[in-house]
């Protein structure tokens, strides 16, 4: 019931947010005697606040690692999760967050004049650092985006592994897109389409409010759909977690292969033991591996070429290309109303040629960017399929570090006590 009420609150919140969303409207066109207040710009917050946020993040990460690895307590983890949703989400309005910081870091490398704040760098690095040691403890109870999904998960429906596996590649593709757009100066798409920002800020565009509602509705029955199937930072954390030296272990002593933990995991992150023998003959596995390796190269080449040709269209997200397109449309159809961007361009007095030249340069660079994105996507898919053809041996049920969110559900289901007895 508690989870149900939490879930309902989560479902209703974006709707209320939409209701409260006040769209700015222009003043009436005639004088009514009402004096418009002058717009004010708030003074930027002191840098101290940013470092306070870093301190809170660090403390939360330490607590998450402690709760998951030492206390093995789901209840305390839920408390931390609620705190993270309240602080990083509702109080700090979802910014700065580690998920979006990827783009800041990329832009800092791509654009020398862009200055990366140290606190932003800390938000980017600290969760990765913890993942290198303890797995995805950041996702477990610190990330505000994950927190809200964790809190509203009422009735987890298990997505078949053969669907969840390929869908788990989407974050890597999204990461590629985010890197492409951030490095080219086109914008921070991850932040622009953050599906939970409407909830945390209690207001947004109708589209984003709908997106929030959809994700929250999905989160009622699907465990962390954003984290598993979209989050680009999650892709980085996944890679870092594969190298984790001390990830969460399900059984505190020897696993008795009771299968209870795998049933409990809503994320399909627990893999069964293969000790009974992978009956697939070795030569069959080798044939599969050879087939997939053979497919890998053409796949990468094919997607690279397609990315090259798709590059100019992908560049439409860039504001300068958008302006050039609107300008071209306005020249083609002078009778059509002009957009604000075109009007602004006219007022600035810049020549149209300059705008088209810039757009052409950006489109050219996007050809390379699109090709790189295609190649990246090909490599990701190829690497995944090849990895599926490799034989792995597991002697017990293990949480796959890359996909385990360290949510601590499986601990309670494990009947093994620390001394090896069964409960």
């Amino acid at each position: 019931m508690k989870r149900t009420s939490l879930a309902l609150t989560g479902l209703l919140a974006p709707l209320l947010a939409m209701g409260q969303e006040q769209k700015r409207q222009p003043p009436p066109d005639f004088t009514s005697g009402y004096q418009l207040p002058s717009p004010t710009t708030p003074v930027p917050k002191e840098a101290l606040f940013a470092w306070f946020d870093v301190g809170v993040l660090l403390l939360a990460l330490v607590l998450a690692a402690y709760i998951v690895l030492s206390r093995r307590s789901r209840a305390w983890l839920l408390v931390l999760t609620a705190f993270s949703a309240a602080y990083f989400g509702f109080y700090r309005l979802g910014c700065v967050c580690s998920v979006g910081s990827v783009q800041n870091v990329v832009l800092a490398f791509a654009e020398p004049s862009y200055r990366l704040g140290l606190s932003v760098a800390a938000f980017f690095l600290l969760p990765l650092l913890f993942a290198l040691f303890y797995g995805r403890v950041f996702c477990s109870g610190v990330c505000p985006l994950g927190a809200i999904q964790e809190l509203v998960l009422v009735k987890p429906l298990r997505i078949p592994d053969w669907i969840a596996g390929p869908l788990g590649l989407v974050p890597f593709l999204y990461l590629g897109l985010a890197v492409l757009y951030a490095s080219s100066g086109a914008g921070f798409v991850v932040c622009r389409y953050d599906p939970f920002i409407a909830l945390y800020r209690l207001g947004s565009s109708p589209l984003m409010a709908w997106l929030t509602g959809m994700f929250l509705a999905a989160s009622l029955f699907i465990g962390r759909p954003y984290c598993r199937f979209l989050c680009p930072y999650g892709a980085l954390l996944r890679v870092a977690s594969w190298l984790a030296s001390k990830p969460a272990r399900i059984a505190p002593a020897a696993c008795i292969s009771c299968h209870l933990c795998a049933k409990e995991c809503p994320y399909g992150a627990i893999l069964p033991p293969s000790a009974e023998g992978d009956r697939a003959p070795l030569h069959q596995l080798r044939r599969t591996l050879a087939r997939r390796l053979a497919v890998a190269a053409p796949l990468v080449v094919c997607l690279t070429v397609l990315g090259w040709f798709a590059g100019p269209a992908m560049a439409r997200v860039h504001p300068k290309v958008t302006l050039a397109r609107e300008l071209a449309l306005s020249l083609d159809r002078p009778e059509a109303p002009k957009t604000l961007a075109v009007e602004a361009h006219r007022r600035l007095g810049r020549s149209d040629e300059e705008v088209f030249r810039e757009a052409a340069a950006i489109q050219r660079s996007f050809r390379f960017g699109g090709a790189a994105f295609g190649a990246w996507a090909g490599v990701v898919v190829a690497a995944y399929t090849v990895s599926l053809a490799l034989r792995r041996r597991r002697r017990e049920y293990v949480a796959e570090p890359g996909t385990c969110f360290a949510c601590a559900r499986c601990f309670a289901s494990c009947p093994v006590l620390p001394n090896g007895d069964r409960s």
Binding site: Q25, L303, E354
Partner: protein, 633 residues
């Protein structure tokens, strides 16, 4: 029927209902876009027409009707959306509950775990297939994007060597705005006034782009017309522009007797060393009471007005040592004026004619003091009808004190005045009633050829007066917004404008209504909200409310460069060959004027600064939130 099956059916009904409501809400959302006042093309067109022809009452009435109808329809859609959302929330809640209950009651069947290895092998094979499907889908998306790219209208412009189409009118390709419809022509289209977002009907409007802001030169005397933006008029030859000079107060040329210096245009004769090249804090003293007004420096004294909600005073500090010379209390005599926090109780900068000093406060009390701090006379002009509190600063012309007293929201009520007082007695020398609404700007005094001009700005006018008689010399109509920045001038032009309106570059040599003939160019970009413009060396520097400093060419208003320097309220000052600025955060920045942003030096004062500094000799006097700083070698 079992309870489980009943719940399943109930769940199905709820799911269908939710989907239906969701669909209707989506439809409502699409519909509401058509009536969004922000997107209403028709409204914008009518606004432009009305701006071009403000006397057209019929057009005004139609605009009002359309405006009201758009808003009503838009708000109706919003109401429907909120009601639909509430219904959807209820349905979704019931759906979640029904699902939870159904899952609880669902009959379970238990079976032995299938062979894990077998499952794993099958899963892996399917997962690999799924990954290939994903790659294929991505490939499909890329193919679609590649196809879209080939049909992009931009493509022809880019491929043809960035040359615009032949159908384009001459002159457009070079960045100049396309020709505009003749103003005042054409009647409103008889179409459904709610049919928004559609191009106007053929024949009802000129075939030229309807949203263009450029207007052609119309013959003089054809009625008042607001210049549009961006509008670069055929610039008169330089010889046709008058030579402008400052009206410097006799004996105070080297002092800082008013807001923005002796000339009032932010140009200083002082030569302090640059930050990092000898500039240091010579002294720093606490200011007893708050106030955002700027310091003035007269005959070795730094004068400040200061006030909070209980006390107010005028104080003098020794300009050499910072020693407090005197403090004169100016008691409140009536109810406290209503002021905003940004205005405070002492926003107006004092002025001095060398014998006396004058201070005005938001309740309308004007005080004349001698330079020893004794009150000579007081005049009360308040209370003002001013939403933020009166904030215009004073200036002196000869032995007269000029006070700009603009108030009210309706210019036709003529509540505003411009008054010249005898500095010795406080009695009126002349007074002009002004048909303007409230403003917070300070007038500007200059000499254009043989005549002196007092330029004051308030919606809807930039107006010049004879400072000796108060007689109006010329006016430019079309100013809007809430003017707080002062006018400025350079060798040939006067600049006046503010956020929410336009910045006009004015040739001040005309007489009467020079809206058509005297505005050389105007712009609505980079407009300042508080900070006064600086006109210096054929450039105009504007500092917007977001902290962006823009450098425009004085001859045509085109942008030279822009740079974000941080939130700033203090106005820039040209000192020698450099431009000095102080940001809100207390960062003193010195720039080199030119074709690009370049800092010559910077210095942190460590305190919030909103007042414009005073420059005298080799010293700089900066009023911070709590302290008065003296910087120098």
């Amino acid at each position: 029927m079992s309870a489980y099956r009943l719940l399943c059916r109930f769940r199905l009904v709820l799911a269908i209902s939710s989907a239906l409501v969701l669909g209707l809400l989506a439809w409502n959302l699409v519909q509401s876009r058509s009536y969004d006042p922000l997107e209403a093309t028709r409204l914008e067109q009518m606004q432009l027409r009305l701006a071009a022809n403000p006397k057209d009452d019929a057009l005004r009435d139609q605009l009002r009707t359309l405006d009201r109808q758009v808003r009503e329809r838009y708000l109706h859609h919003r109401r429907v959306a909120l009601q639909g959302l509430a219904l959807l929330a209820v349905l979704a809640s019931l759906l979640a509950l029904a699902h939870a209950a159904a899952e609880t009651l669902r009959p379970r069947s238990y079976s032995a775990e299938p062979d894990a290895t077998e499952i794993l092998a099958q899963t892996r094979a399917k997962a690999a297939q799924g990954a290939y499907v994903l790659a294929t889908a991505l490939g499909g998306i890329l193919v679609v994007l590649a196809t879209l790219g080939r049909n992009d209208p931009l493509g022809s412009y880019v491929r043809e060597g960035m040359k615009p189409h032949a159908t384009e009118a001459p002159g457009q390709a070079s960045g100049s705005a396309p020709p505009a419809p003749p103003v005042g022509q054409g009647s409103l289209p008889p179409a459904d006034p709610l049919a928004l977002g559609k191009p106007p009907l053929a024949g009802s409007l000129p075939a030229t782009p309807p949203t263009t802001r450029l207007e052609p030169e119309a013959p003089a005397g054809a009625g008042t017309q607001r210049p549009s933006s961006p509008a670069v008029r055929p610039a008169p030859s330089k010889s046709a522009l008058p030579d402008l000079e400052p009206c410097l107060p006799a004996g105070l040329e080297a002092d800082w007797p008013r807001f923005r210096g002796p000339a009032g245009n932010g140009v200083a004769a002082a030569r302090p060393p640059l930050p990092g090249k000898g500039l240091k804090v010579l002294w720093k003293v606490a200011v007893p009471l708050p106030g955002w007004n700027s310091p003035i420096v007269v005959k070795g004294s730094v004068l400040l007005a200061m006030a909070d909600s209980t006390r107010r005073e005028v104080a003098a500090f020794d300009a050499r040592t910072g020693e407090l010379l005197w403090r004169t209390p100016i008691p409140y005599q009536g109810p406290l004026p209503k002021v905003s926090q940004d205005t405070g109780y002492a926003p107006s900068t004092m002025a001095s004619d060398g014998e006396r000093a004058y201070a005005i406060f938001p309740d309308g009390l004007l005080v004349g003091l001698d330079l020893g701090g004794s009150v000579l006379w007081t005049r009360s002009f308040g209370p003002f009808e001013n939403p933020y509190g009166h904030a215009s600063s004073l200036l002196c012309h000869g032995k007269n004190v000029i006070v700009q007293l603009d108030q009210g929201s309706d210019p036709e009520e003529r509540k505003s005045r411009l008054v010249a007082l005898d500095g010795a007695t406080g009695k009126n020398v002349w007074q002009v009633d002004r048909a303007v609404s409230a403003s917070w700007a300070t007038p500007l005094l200059l000499r254009a050829g043989t005549r002196e001009l007092l330029v004051a700005m308030a919606p809807p006018l930039v107006c010049a007066y004879d400072p000796d008689t108060g007689k109006e010399v010329w006016r430019v109509e079309g100013l809007g917004g809430e003017p707080a920045p002062c006018p400025a001038f350079d060798e040939h032009r006067v600049y006046a404008g503010n956020l929410g309106s336009y910045l006009f570059a004015i040739n001040p040599s005309g007489e009467g209504d020079i809206t058509r003939t005297g505005v050389l160019w105007d712009t609505s970009d980079y407009l300042p909200d508080i900070v006064s413009p600086l006109a210096f060396r054929e450039s105009v520097y504007l500092l917007g409310p977001d902290g962006t400093l823009a450098c425009l060419r004085a001859k045509d208003g085109s942008l030279v460069w822009e740079h974000r320097i941080g939130l700033t309220k203090a106005s820039p000052t040209a000192v020698g060959d450099a431009i000095w600025l102080v940001t809100d955060a207390g960062r003193l920045v010195v720039l080199q004027p030119g074709d690009a942003y370049r800092e010559l030096g910077a210095m942190e004062l460590g305190e919030v600064v909103r007042a414009s500094p005073a420059f005298v000799g080799d010293r700089v006097y900066v009023r911070g939130q709590d302290h008065l700083f003296c910087l120098g070698p």
